[in-house]
């Protein structure tokens, strides 16, 4: 009888007070929608921005050789430091747990294909560069490889936008483009990627060639910059320190001279984003939960009225031997049921919205809100807590009723 009769009693209340119950449940539904949508949007936005961040490479450090700012062992300051591919080799040898790639660049040479002429940024580097910068070849292509490097092959990997400019929708891989009248074979095109920061143009508009080929072609010796990547963000400071040590020894400058080699540690941004988004998410959850709390207050009020209306029933139950705790449990369970119904409705609305949202095509700007486990867990937890609190006080009042008074009121 317990469960069945309990359910029947609830349905009876619902039937008698359709509008009241509907409004109460609506309050919870609305609160649930706001919490879950806000958290989902927060997650989507975070995922979007993180994806944009990854475009430059995860936790990479970009280093530019510059001039010394401190005198060192008899050498004055202001001395130009120039880094070569041999230095990169030395770094790879001495700091084997990190990855290094030098980069040379040029924006003076013209690519020509049929009647199209473009002068893009040419980036000359090594195969590992692609992995560090999240450059992924689209199907059918590949990045510059070690063999290209060894044999100084004239091959080029094109950013997706550059490819589009040169070839349009045509297939590019296997075709030849002229670079200052030297034929280059296209070996791959970049998969479209999001990139929100750069230091010499987005990768989508660049042409990538083997650094050996570049050196031969333009008789350039010195690297414009180099990038390196530690195993994880936590190891970055240590690797950075050792990079200074190795290069300072080879080029005779003070290892503490941070200006000799300028560095941009992108993992600093990562740390900032971790804190920023943690706070942002908590903020959204709190704003959303306020709405849910308002819904909870509505439920609590209604439950007070329900207890009032059912005073006689409570009196009868007490008279035939119901313990106060039983009465309390009953009303708590009713409140939780109402809350759960509202919550499920709210989650359904949210899921429906999230299913439709991608059709709006706003992904590029705000990301795609996702019904991640975090969203569902946060919402469910909040609902449970609010249901318990909303039910606790009316249920407690019900359980504290004096049976004599409860029966007399009838």
């Amino acid at each position: 009888m317990t469960a069945l009769s309990f359910l029947r009693q609830m349905l009876q209340d619902v039937r008698q007070q359709k509008l009241r119950t509907a409004l109460t449940v609506l309050g919870i539904t609305w609160g649930t929608v706001s919490v879950s949508l806000l958290v989902a949007f927060g997650e989507g936005l975070e995922a979007r921005i993180r994806a944009n961040q990854r475009g430059l490479g995860e936790n990479i450090v970009i280093a530019w050789p510059s001039r010394t700012s401190l005198p060192w062992e008899g050498l004055g300051k202001g001395r130009r430091i120039r880094i070569t591919e041999e230095d990169i080799e030395a770094l790879r040898r001495e700091i084997p747990e990190a990855r290094f790639s030098g980069e040379m660049s040029r924006e003076k040479s013209t690519f020509r294909r049929e009647r199209v002429r473009i002068t893009p940024e040419i980036s000359a580097n090594s195969p590992i560069f692609a992995a560090m910068r999240n450059i992924i070849p689209a199907a059918g292509g590949r990045y510059v490889n070690d063999l290209d490097l060894d044999r100084r092959r004239r091959v080029v990997f094109l950013g997706d936008k550059l490819k589009q400019d040169l070839f349009g929708d045509e297939e590019a891989v296997g075709k030849t483009v002229m670079l200052d009248n030297v034929p280059f074979l296209v070996v791959g095109v970049m998969e479209k990627k999001a990139q929100d920061s750069s230091y010499s143009g987005r990768d989508e508009g660049k042409a990538f060639i083997p650094e050996t080929t570049f050196r031969g072609l333009f008789s350039e010796r010195y690297l414009e910059n180099f990038i390196f990547q530690a195993a994880n963000a936590a190891a970055t400071p240590d690797v950075t320190r050792r990079v200074y040590e190795v290069l300072a020894r080879r080029h005779k400058f003070d290892p503490a001279d941070k200006e000799a080699i300028g560095m941009w540690d992108t993992s600093e941004g990562e740390k900032f984003f971790a804190i920023f988004f943690g706070t942002f998410r908590a903020f959204l959850a709190i704003i959303g939960s306020f709405t849910l709390v308002v819904g909870g207050i509505g439920v609590s009020n209604i439950m007070y009225v329900v207890v009032e209306e059912r005073t006689r029933e409570i009196g009868v139950k007490l008279a035939v031997g119901a313990k106060p705790a039983w009465i309390q449990r009953q009303f708590l369970a009713e409140t939780l049921t109402l809350t759960a119904v509202g919550g499920v409705c709210g989650l359904v609305v949210t899921l429906g919205f999230l299913a439709v949202f991608p059709l709006l095509g706003l992904d590029e700007y705000v990301g795609t809100p996702q019904a991640s486990p975090l969203v569902v867990a946060t919402t469910t937890l909040l609902l449970g807590v609010i249901g318990m609190v909303a039910g606790w006080f009316p249920a407690r009042r019900a359980s504290l009723l004096d049976p004599v008074i409860a029966l007399k009121l009838a």
């Binding site: 139950k317 035939v320 031997g321 119901a322 049976p403 004599v404 029966l407």
Partner: protein, 232 residues
């Protein structure tokens, strides 16, 4: 019979209600013993305190002063949970206005005390059905109270009061809301129960019903003014 320990023992029981500044003494020192298998009618004018006495006997209310012993256990000073247990195990209550749960069937209403006693669903069902048969409502088990007549409702209430085999059956004006034919049927049911060994205490206005009891206690202004045992 007199040598036996009384089932109910009230000694100097007082009940004071305070409503703001005003204090009303509903009971002013009641001494009453009820023995096993007695059939006691409590009579008295309105406001005499007989309902208060009934509530105290039924453990719905606690005395302000004095001692109440039920089946050897002192009731005074027990907490709400323990009082609920006593109501559940030892007392069967029948009210003037039936006090059935409107949304539950006759059977479910009768099952209620067994539910709070922690009896299994199957046994609850069997015992409640048997009790409804006992009060001649075997064919009304699935009816809601609104689908029953007053007399039938009161019989459901009696079945509910008896289903947990209480030590005493307390009835507060059980025929007050019934027509005379239904009232008579209820009264004869009480007589049958008494004949079968049930201890009964009832409140009534009706001298005719009181006469059927084997003991009549008259309450007036919060004290017992008369306690007459019928010559058996």
């Amino acid at each position: 019979m007199t040598a036996e320990q009384p089932l109910i023992e009230l000694q100097g029981v007082r009940k004071v209600y305070s409503t703001g500044r005003l204090e009303v003494e509903a009971l002013r020192g009641i001494d009453l013993d009820v023995h096993r298998n007695e059939y006691v009618a409590i009579v008295g004018p309105s406001g005499s305190g007989k309902s208060t006495l009934m509530n105290i006997l039924g453990c719905l209310d606690t005395p302000s002063a004095g001692r109440y012993t039920l089946g050897g256990e002192t009731v005074g000073g027990l907490d709400r949970n323990r009082l609920a247990e006593i109501r559940n195990r030892h007392i069967g209550f029948v009210f003037q206005n039936f006090n059935l749960l409107p949304y539950a069937s006759a059977l479910e209403n009768v099952e209620l005390p067994l539910l709070f006693a922690g009896v299994s669903a199957r046994e609850r069902h069997e015992r409640a059905a048997a009790m409804l048969e006992r009060v001649d409502l075997a064919n009304r088990m699935d009816h809601k109270p609104t689908e029953l007549s007053g007399g039938q409702m009161q019989r459901v209430a009696i079945a509910r009061a008896l289903v947990n085999r209480p030590t005493i059956l307390l009835a507060d004006e059980p025929t007050g809301n019934l027509d005379s034919a239904s009232g008579k049927a209820i009264v004869s049911l009480f007589e049958e129960l008494h004949a079968a060994g049930q201890t009964i205490v009832l409140i009534t206005h009706d001298a005719g019903i009181a006469r059927l009891a084997n003991r009549v206690v008259r309450v007036q202004d919060g004290t017992i003014v008369e306690d007459v045992r019928a010559a058996a």
